[in-house]
Subunit: 118 residues, 2 copies
């Protein structure tokens, strides 16, 4: 493995990074093939539409989000989730403040590079 | 892709499966390279020590768990997480009822096969 996180990650101790207006990110466990990322959204904050080659699954831990995948949009609440195939355009708008868990395969090396810069 | 879930998965609508005493599993989004699984544990329920070739990251959504990875054990609570490298023996005991989010790379095809049988 080129990339590998610690085995145990404590939420209160791991780095948090402001990545956009009202959006805070914490990188959790990862290796070359997988990465989990926790993202806090203020109400009204936006995950702008974008696409990437990584497969993604996102779980709504709390809050309410309008999620768009390709040309379809749905309202997602706590316990709902979304699968995003590689290179499919997607985005989300936070309607009630909350937390998403994003997982990617392979790892988002761009996130690690950004964290090292801060 | 050989495997691919729906894009949108609503927690109240997806199948739940009793997989062990006090352990209930719900398969969330997946494709060949990634799979997210939600697991409810009653207090005292055990995820027995085992190993698999998949990389795994597990997030504690709620509850308290004693987690062992290799020869190291830690108490994990809400917001904590654990990374488990391929083929490393791991297990967990639930100390206060709660929910884990397990993610794997590649997908756990064995879980899909088990779900189709029920």
């Amino acid at each position: 493995m080129k990339l590998q996180s610690k085995n145990f990650l404590f939420g209160g101790a791991e780095t948090k990074e402001v990545v956009d207006k009202g959006v805070v990110r914490q990188i959790l466990g990862y290796d070359d093939s997988i990465m989990m990322v926790k993202v806090w959204f203020d109400r009204g904050a936006v995950g702008y539409r974008h696409a990437h080659e990584h497969s993604q699954v996102t779980y709504v831990e709390s809050g309410v989000f309008e999620f768009t995948v390709g040309d379809e949009s749905k309202r997602l609440e706590t316990g709902d989730s979304v699968y995003i195939a590689p290179n499919i355009s997607h985005g989300a708008t936070c309607q009630e403040a909350g937390v998403l868990l994003d997982v990617f395969s392979p790892a988002r090396e761009d996130f690690l590079a950004a964290e090292q810069k801060t």
